[in-house]
């Protein structure tokens, strides 16, 4: 199978690596974008060695909004599929204690991703085709004391993706929202995560490719998360505010 180029934004994460592999395995050329692209040389070698696809590396800073338009124009080809895996969690204690730090988390998880996807959306709309994939989070489904700074940014990003999907529905451009739930990656290193709720990055890569091919709108990687978040969202606020989840 052959396909058009797939752009991976924030390509240094474990999840991004598996997403890239999943598309490369189907013959898509891959564009890897991140800050300090020298770190991606081994990933490029890996995709070329495993799957024999063309891989290009692109310097990209999600927080440097002024550069985003030029970044899109500078790509060797406007991708068929763009996956935004940009994000940073920080720790809730730091984010709460230091609101400036919290604001950076919001910028990295909402403002930056929304800006770059906004530029890509406009270019894809003009072309009349393409798929945009935003990696959001179950944390955005309801603000909780344990990670509401990160969660609020993801809530914003989820709403942005939803609106973008609505706007582009009749233009040939599709938008997929991904809420992974727990994933065993560097971001969750050292956390004690329940096995049945925790996806492997490989699972995420596979699920996203399938969801793109079948034009899904919103996916949770492990279906049980849809149920869990439905329950969490349904708890009345007077009770919810006293819980610790």
């Amino acid at each position: 199978m052959k396909g058009g180029p797939v752009l991976i934004l924030g390509a240094t994460s474990g999840m991004a690596r598996e997403i890239a592999r999943s598309f490369a395995a189907c013959g898509h050329p891959i564009q890897l974008a991140a800050r300090n692209v020298a770190r991606l040389e081994d990933d490029r070698a890996d995709l070329e060695t495993r799957h024999g696809v063309a891989v290009t590396l692109h310097e990209f800073d999600a927080l440097d909004l002024a550069s985003h338009k030029g970044f899109v124009e500078g790509l060797p080809a406007l991708p068929d599929i763009a996956v935004c895996a940009v994000g940073a969690m920080g720790t809730q204690e730091e984010n709460a204690a230091n609101p400036e730090k919290g604001a950076m988390v919001m910028r990295a998880n909402f403002e930056g991703p929304a800006s770059i996807l906004g530029h890509l959306a406009n270019a894809m709309e003009a072309r009349g085709s393409g798929t945009l994939v935003g990696i959001s989070s179950v944390a955005g489904d309801r603000g909780r004391a344990s990670n509401y700074v990160y969660g609020s940014a993801k809530a914003g990003f989820t709403a942005f993706l939803s609106g973008l999907r609505n706007r582009l529905a009749k233009t040939g451009v599709h938008v997929l929202t991904v809420k992974p739930g727990f994933v065993a990656t560097a971001m969750t290193e050292g956390m004690d995560l329940p096995e049945k709720l925790t996806a492997d990055p490989k699972e995420v890569g596979h699920a996203i490719r399938i969801a793109v091919q079948s034009q899904k709108n919103v996916i949770y990687i492990r279906p049980v998360w849809r149920l869990i978040m439905a329950i969490i969202k349904a708890i009345p606020e007077p009770i919810f505010k006293k819980t610790e989840i």
């Binding site: 474990g14 770190r39 081994d42 990933d43 070698a45 890996d46 060695t49 495993r50 065993a184 560097a186 290193e189 050292g190 004690d192």
Partner: protein, 441 residues
Amino acid sequence: MSILSGWGRTPKAACHVVRARTEGDVAASLGDTTLIARGNGRSYGDSALNPALTLDMRGMDRMLSFDAESGTLVAEAGVLLEDIIDTFLPRGWFPAVTPGTKFVSLGGAIAADVHGKNHHRDGAFGSFVDWIEVMGADGQVTRASRDGNSDLFGYTLGGMGLTGVILRAQIRLRRVESGWIVQQTLPTGTLEEAIDAFEANLDALYSVAWIDCATQGRHLGRSLVMLGHHATPDELPSDKRRKPFAVKRKRAKRVPLDFPGLALNRYSVRAFNELYYRMGARKAGRAIVDWDTYFYPLDAILDWNRIYGTRGFFQFQCVLPTDTARAGMHQLVERIAASGQGSFLSVLKRFGAQESRFSFPQEGYTLALDFPANDRSLALMDTLDRITLENGGRFYLAKDGRVPRTVFSQADPRAAEFAALRREQGWDRAFASLQSERLGL
């Protein structure tokens, strides 16, 4: 902290785990405590456990280059054999040496210097390793091969991660013409006949025997000796010849729950062995089987270690040198059969000669089988240890979680040399596992 164990699920230990995704991550974890690198957790005992720091290497899983002329692959240590097969079998290449599971990491295969069904002809995994890159206690990365830093190279093969952290390696794959194996099954009525069959078939590329360790008397040690080689297209039926690498992957099954301890008893084990032998004997002769079924029959059942219940199991594997192998194997199998604790799958295999610093294989015969972890089986294994010692044999660290220090050092005089070298090089202050501490390495 995570509760970790080897594949045998015993011993278990609460370990501080860090996943390394880059060389920098490995360097950053050196220093404060000792650590042990862990691949895919398929060694059976306590080789890849260190409560202070267990470094999960699965994040370093990139393939860096492949030369399609020579079949040489450069890859990071966390790449699994499964990935290598998925990537390169369709292009006509297969691991030159593979253990009985494809779910091992490259780093783990090197650290244990694993062997396969072709040891008698090709030696162990290390025979096909051109070079390795190892991070030492000081964070320096050293490339080691037979020609340069050959001591580090030699001791890292089979060194169980105790010489440093293996980061990358270059290995040579084997050219194959199909994904199929021509298998020849020879049923033998006794252990002696099985050994005769191995000796008569030293030119077969692959040879291994399933041995019945549950039956006593005149059929003691009856076996199914299985020979094999990679099929060439003209050995395949015409429907397979057109696409010789197209092997349908069977869906792996899972063991849904931990079996209760009673599921395995002398009756079920004996009945299983009886049935297995009869089925095998009926299918004796030549057959074409796919690579996955031939090399990795147990991988088809993903959590097969759960059939031993939550208490887990020990694997016993020793090798006896050629001159004592016949008599020694007879004593071992006789003792196991008499105990009524034989296991479902016991494996007998002939090893060829191998020069090594600390690897397990030596010329002779190796026997491997598992026992549920309980007091009776531990007592039996003590007896098996003694028989192994009396016959000049030694033990396989990748399978071990219980051999006493005194037994191990008696069986393998190289242990003292290795321990001394570790102290001299300062490796002992940076790299250690529960196994190395238990054995005083």
